[in-house]
Amino acid sequence: MIISEVEAKRITDKVLALSKADSCTVTLGGHARTHLRFALNGVTTDGEQDDLTLSVTSSFGTRTGSARTNEFSDAALAKVVRKAEEIARLARPDPEFVPPYGPQQYLPGQSWFDATAKSTPASMATATRPVLDLATQKEVTAAGFFNVGQSCSAMATSKGLFAFDRSTGALFTVSARTSDGTGAGWAGVNHHDIGRLAPATLGRRAIEKTVDSRGPIPLEPGKYLVLLEPSAVCDLLSSFVGRAEARSADEGRSFFSKKGGGNKLEEKLFPDSVNVYSDPHDSIAPGSIYSSHGLPARRRNWIENGTLKDLMYSPYWAKKSNREAVPAPTNIVMQGGSATQDELIASVKRGILVTRFWYIREVDPRTLLLTGLTRDGTFLIENGKIVRPVKNFRFNESPVAMLNNIEAMGQSVRALGGEGAGMPVSVPPLLVRDFTFSSLSDAV
């Protein structure tokens, strides 16, 4: 359920008025989404989801409890407040308790597009049809997912903080397979503005890749120069940023820990060309205007000219470390170059093009070593041209090595990782040397 800022304020005021705790934080999260799945060139399942959730965190002194509900009758509101308070009374004093924040200043949101909000099941079916028709025409089998929706969120505290944000989102992913089962391709992206989604273009790209990837040859596993398309970069970079947290680093149990104690802040980790930041007003991948604890999202450089400039600091750890609290990012942007992907390909004497990765898991948190596989379009590049499809590889590699071994980068574009949509991300395709493929996979 999508509610307005006025309605959100009315509900949070009402809940705060019911609170008898010393301090209270109220959050609301709502969504309304419509989706369409297809496979074997036809529709399979579809549906509408519509919900609104209320969460109450109450504290007596430093004793805290939380309760959630998705019912909004007066009785249900009173019940969830009492439940949070009941838990808080049973809880133990928390030596790390930090009171809720007071009023904050937020940037205006830039993630809402009326055109997306007006989408209907019929318009989604119409936009999908050309993809299925092209798949049939090219004698490949397409499968995909189209998800369009709206979301809203609000946070209010007994100290006077009130934040509200809303966004729209449209996601279209399509993969296809050849009838002989030897070729597969994929394309996909998400945007706040459905007008930028272009399902037909994505479908054409996926189907072209599918046809071109038929009959892959095996190459020996080893270290390769790789051209990682934005989806692949998105997955590895998101893993890196997601672990950039100060406390675990200071405690000595993270890649970001410094040998001998402390963390790697201000260390030069990567070449000058590496710049990674968050900015809720980024034009390609705008993020939410507020983050954890109701703290405002603002431009924040994580990596600046290769140096680690920031880590996430929880309110408690910030206080203990005598620093400002740094909330989790609400988007990730990696600055790119000016080259097109074709220009990057043209610069490669011998290398592997990776469309996307799959089933990425952490192997060693100390080195951020990850494992996973290439999928849906892996090609050999020779003398500046894509020459043939190759079998998929399993990689064992760290995003730290990826960022250290960049040979060239293309333009930063909106990207969607292989394992689903997280926060909005804009990354360039990267040309990376010495990327470790450890074994071959027969999977197509």
Binding site: R33, T34, L36, R37, A39, L40, G42, V43, T44, T45, D46, G47, E48, Q49, D51, L52, T53, S55, A67, R68, E71, K83, I87, L90, A91, R92, D94, E96, P121, A122, M124, A125, R129, L132, T141, A143, G144, N147, V174, S175, W186, E251, G252, R253, K258, G260, V363, T367, L369, T371, L373, R375, R394, N396, S398, G420, S439, S441, D442, A443
Partner: protein
């Protein structure tokens, strides 16, 4: 290493931890608050009659209520206590062979009518994209109630009691040398009312419990650190499972093992024989047998996300999936199983629907939801439909999938005694497998060298990587029933929008020959 202690810990014990008699009052879950059978029948009439009137050939209504509780601690501190309820309904309608689905958290008769209309509307909007109309097999209608048997409803146990146990776990770990210990418990109480146009009217209630911890040992001088996670599995059980599991003792053992692991010798990569404990093997079964034998994947319905399968339908009854020691059963009736339930989310009765996926190494059946059986010339599906929420569409999900114990009473020591150069692996670690389920790589929690039939020193940086069929065919020995352990996951992901499913996997220790072992230490970072 104290393997015997470990095995006893995993298996649980009749010796309870210190627990007060708060358990004396433990009411079993009852029907959804404010929704008795008659009220649900009335709502079902609204949905099913509207769906029929609007042109649906089949429809069902699911009303679900979930109560979740989580308690998390680290060291001497309670990090968070959270309780939530989630309530709503979904209507599924089949119109001209095309599905439509809609949902809402407003359970009024008016809204049920509107949502039914929306479900039919979506089906009608999308039928222009239909290539192969969906045909459902006729199912019997059931009027029944199924309530998971348990001794202690976790929601009747005081929070103080849970906090005390978790802080005792952290204290035990730290006293035993751990620098950090995070621990937690999650409980879910799931209730579902289901009515279908086939005449079913069902109420089901079940509970899931998941206690766990993770200890960390740090050597700041070298910059190295290591962890050892609890081997406790989530279960479809009441609080008696948490009470009887020796979490405090395991935490102490884990702290010792983590310290040993920090100083352990790094593994020499290469082909090695492996003896794999069920606390690790359950996940290998899940990924390399559970998923590839899902019929919707094999047919291509999940191609865009979860992937397809190397187990194509022409291999049914022909594929030599594993050695003769490998018989894998699918069920939704096993005691303590996370997938255990009376009826699946298509309304198929699970009792009597148990089936062998692999029989003495031969691939013999797929997991199926309603409407899929005829695609492999079978007469009926086998109870594998599940939706993780009232607002998600039921899709084919795993039942409990388990390796059947060997008939002979073989112990772990006997398995190990026939290994000259190998590794004994305990607990699940990092896991990854390709989208057709050929190439996998799995880590673990604790690794021991095996030399000349005996367990030797601890190893670190171990992962095993292989090809599914080669791996299962390399099995040449499994233990008997005495070593059976039920592992599992709270959160198996599949589908778009992604749904999570709880599922259990039973196994006994098993021996595999010449498996590729990797060294995961990356020295250049």
């Amino acid at each position: 290493m104290n393997r015997r202690t470990f095995v006893r810990t995993v298996a649980g014990s009749a010796v309870a931890i210190s627990v007060p008699n708060v358990f004396a009052t433990s009411p079993l879950p009852g029907p959804v608050e404010g929704l008795d059978r008659a009220s649900f029948q009335k709502l079902a009439d609204v949905a099913l009659s509207a769906a029929k009137r609007l042109g649906a050939s089949y429809a069902d209504l699911r009303v679900c209520r979930y109560q979740n509780q989580s308690v998390h601690t680290r060291e001497e501190r309670v990090e968070g206590i959270d309780e939530s309820t989630d309530f709503g309904f979904g209507v599924r309608a089949l119109v001209d062979g095309t599905w439509g689905f809609s949902s809402s958290n407003d359970l009024s008769e008016k809204r049920v009518g509107e949502v039914t209309q929306a479900a039919v509307g979506i089906a009608k909007a999308n039928r222009v994209l239909q290539k192969q109309p969906i045909e459902l097999e006729k199912l019997p209608g059931y009027q029944d109630e199924w309530i998971m048997p348990m001794k202690i409803n976790p929601f009747s146990v005081s929070i103080e009691n849970k906090v005390s146990l978790l802080l005792a776990v952290n204290e035990a770990a730290r006293k035993a040398g751990a620098n950090f210990c995070n621990s937690g418990m999650n409980f879910v109480w799931e209730e579902k009312h289901f009515a279908s146009s086939y005449g079913s009217l069902l109420y089901q209630s079940r509970v899931r419990s998941f206690p766990r911890f993770n200890v960390t040992v740090v050597d700041k001088s070298t910059g190295r650190f290591t962890t050892r996670r609890s081997l406790a599995a989530p279960r479809g059980s009441g609080y008696e499972y948490v009470r009887d599991y020796e979490l405090v003792r395991e935490a102490e053992e884990a702290a010792h093992q983590a310290q040993e692991k920090l100083k352990a010798r790094t593994v020499e990569p290469g082909k090695r024989d492996l003896v794999i404990h069920p606390t690790n093997l359950w996940l290998t079964i899940h990924e390399s047998i559970g998923h590839p034998c899902e019929l919707d994947r094999a047919l291509g319905y999940e191609a865009n996300f979860a992937g397809t399968s190397f187990v194509t339908t022409n291999r049914l009854g022909k594929l030599r999936y594993g050695s003769e020691f490998i018989t894998i059963e699918g069920d939704r009736t096993q005691k303590g199983g996370l997938a255990t339930v009376g009826y699946d989310d298509d309304g198929v009765r699970t009792k009597g629907a148990e089936f062998n996926i692999i029989t003495k190494g031969l691939f013999t059946n797929y997991e199926m939801a309603v409407g899929q059986a005829k695609m492999i010339d079978r007469k009926k599906s086998n109870g594998c439909s599940f939706a993780d929420s009232w607002d998600t569409f039921p899709i084919q999900r795993m039942p409990n999938i388990s390796l059947k114990p060997g008939r002979e009473k073989i112990s772990i020591d006997q398995l190990i005694s026939d290994v000259k150069d190998g590794i004994y692996i305990i607990g699940d670690g990092s896991w990854s497998i390709d989208q057709q389920r050929y190439n996998f790589q799995f880590g673990g929690q604790v690794f021991y060298e095996i030399k000349n039939g005996k367990i030797g020193q601890m190893l670190r940086d171990v992962a095993y990587q292989g090809n599914t069929v080669d791996f299962w065919n390399s099995c040449d020995g499994i233990c008997g029933q005495d070593e059976y352990h039920l592992g599992g996951a709270f959160n198996c992901g599949k589908g778009q929008p992604q749904q999570i499913a709880p599922v259990s996997h039973g196994a006994v220790p098993a021996r595999f020959r010449k498996v590729n072992v990797l060294n995961t230490d990356r020295k250049d970072i």
